[in-house]
């Protein structure tokens, strides 16, 4: 396949950045998207040019490190896959592919296509945990958990924190991520104890960091590589409302 790539190049966080067009030829349709970029980078290095910086780690769709906003969609045109799991057969010979970094105020560009997603860690630090002392392994079924709750919690917990929801959302809202992290704990007995405080702290942090507000547009769900459901957002809305009405701690 012969392709034209329009890639966002930005030297560092301070630089202005611009799109640079590259031609790349003889790409196999079985090549993965990141392998295609590897080939491009090799060619750039041979020409003594700066290779394109992009995030990646596991390359098997489980770590959430890869990103890329490809032709107007986070993680590209395939459904329910990360960019590292995207293959060139999803494109046509002669295509022009526009590759951009995640765009959101809380996700500043570090270099080229790499953005700083530390904002997500800060949200987790604000409340995405349970406070228990570690010790011996507890008995597996000492605390009964209904199967359906365990399933919903597992589904929410499959979020890999890649940030595609923020990238896809027209408002750069982090609601899908935050609600998945709230839900995975709130659904289980172990997470109930701190549930009211947790949801308020995580939402407050999300607002503080400058993510947008949810308009129930659901682009996040459509683009999530792990198909996290927007029902988690509704659950978080419910949890938060309950915490505000029924909780004795003030939102702060």
């Amino acid at each position: 396949m012969n392709l034209t790539l329009k890639i966002w190049r930005q030297k560092d966080a301070k630089a202005k950045g611009k799109f640079v067009t590259y031609k790349i030829n003889d790409i196999s349709p079985d090549c993965s998207f990141l392998e295609m970029l590897d080939i491009l980078n090799e060619q750039l290095v041979e020409k003594d040019e700066e290779p394109v910086a992009f995030d990646h780690d596991c390359r098997e769709g489980i770590c959430g490190t890869c990103s890329l906003y490809i032709n107007g969609r986070p993680h590209g045109p395939d459904e329910a896959v990360t960019t590292c799991q995207l293959h060139m057969r999803k494109f046509k010979d002669g295509d022009t592919i526009v590759i951009e970094p995640w765009r959101a105020k809380p996700f500043p560009v570090i270099k080229d296509l790499i953005v700083d997603r530390y904002a997500f860690d800060k949200i987790i630090q604000a409340g995405g945990y349970i406070s228990v002392n570690t010790g011996g392994v507890p008995d597996a079924n000492a605390i009964p958990v209904p199967k359906e709750k365990a399933d919903l919690s597992m589904d929410a917990a499959s979020c890999i924190g890649c940030g595609a929801c923020v990238a896809a959302c027209k408002n750069a809202s982090a609601m899908l991520f935050v609600s998945a992290k709230v839900s995975q704990l709130a659904l289980l007995p172990q997470g109930k104890t701190e549930a009211k405080r947790r949801v308020q702290k995580m939402v407050a942090k999300m607002d503080e960091l400058g993510f947008g507000n949810c308009t129930n547009t659901y682009a996040c769900e459509a683009e999530c590589p792990k198909e996290i459901s927007v029902e988690n957002i509704a659950r978080m809305n419910r949890e938060f409302l309950g915490a505000k009405i029924g909780g004795n701690k003030k939102e702060k």
């Binding site: 329009k6 966002w8 799109f19 906003y69 032709n71 107007g72 969609r73 986070p74 526009v98 951009e100 765009r103 959101a104 105020k105 809380p106 896809a168 027209k170 408002n171 750069a172 809202s173 308020q200 939402v203 407050a204 999300m206 607002d207 503080e208 400058g210 993510f211 947008g212 507000n213 949810c214 308009t215 129930n216 547009t217 659901y218 682009a219 459509a222 683009e223 927007v230 029902e231 957002i233 509704a234 659950r235 978080m236 809305n237 419910r238 949890e239 938060f240 409302l241 505000k244 939102e251 702060k252």
Partner: protein, 231 residues
């Protein structure tokens, strides 16, 4: 981080927005119900426009309704202010836009709530000047007498207005945009308030679709029937 006393979370704003919006939808149904009376032609028991004029008189004078009128204006103002505040925050959350964006599958009208909202807002002001303020100031509104009691012939005001084709088209077009707003709005309330359930969400979406057709269509009938009918 220290927060000002006015800090309100994004979710709280959405709850307020949703409740105000839901209230506005109930208002639209009442408004439509009364407006349709203007189409009643006279019969043996009552004159043309009599039912409408009496209903309008009741709405304009009853104390309870007067109180509700304040609540209604409040509802509009809150919905509009919060709509703008949320939207401005949303724009600020993405200072640098994408070159190629929005190819994701989404619910279609949710992307344009601020645009349909602004259209409704502009219409609202024009609409208030067309009827509400005219009716309140009573400058050029004729009087009629039913059963010896004096009423203002507000129905005539409506019928006079809709003799002009431009006016009829303007109302019909705006109502289409109201439909777009409502299509997303009604079902969205339940998501925002966390009142969703996998079993009932499809039902709510269908109701949302029905509302977004019935309300605009109902309001549209009035100018169309007046213009093309013999009023």
């Amino acid at each position: 981080m220290a927060r000002t006393g006015f800090y309100q979370s994004s979710l709280t704003k959405k709850y307020v927005m949703a409740l105000a919006g839901l209230f506005l939808i109930t208002f639209l149904f009442v408004h439509l119900g009364i407006n349709l009376l203007v189409l009643c032609k006279g019969s043996a028991n009552y004159e043309a426009r009599e039912l409408f004029n009496i209903a309008a008189h009741f709405m304009g004078t009853n104390v309870l309704i007067k109180i509700f009128e304040v609540v209604l204006f409040g509802g509009f103002i809150i919905h509009i202010i919060y709509g703008f505040v949320l939207q401005i925050q949303n724009w600020m959350a993405r200072p640098k836009r994408y070159k190629k964006e929005n190819f994701s599958f989404t619910s279609p009208f949710s992307k344009f709530m601020i645009h349909t909202g602004i259209i409704i807002f502009i219409f609202l002001i024009i609409h208030l000047f067309d009827f509400y303020f005219k009716a309140k100031i009573y400058g050029d509104v004729k009087e009629v007498i039913y059963d010896g009691k004096h009423y203002h012939d507000l129905g005539l005001l409506v019928i006079d207005k809709f003799q002009h084709l431009g006016f009829v088209i303007f109302y019909v077009v705006i109502l289409i945009f109201l439909g777009f707003h409502l299509h997303h709005a009604f079902q969205s309330v339940f998501q925002s308030l966390g009142l969703n359930h996998p079993r009932y969400m499809p039902v709510l979406k269908t109701i949302s679709l029905i509302i977004s057709i019935i309300l605009p269509l109902g309001f549209m009938i009035i100018p169309l029937v007046i213009y093309f009918g013999n009023y």
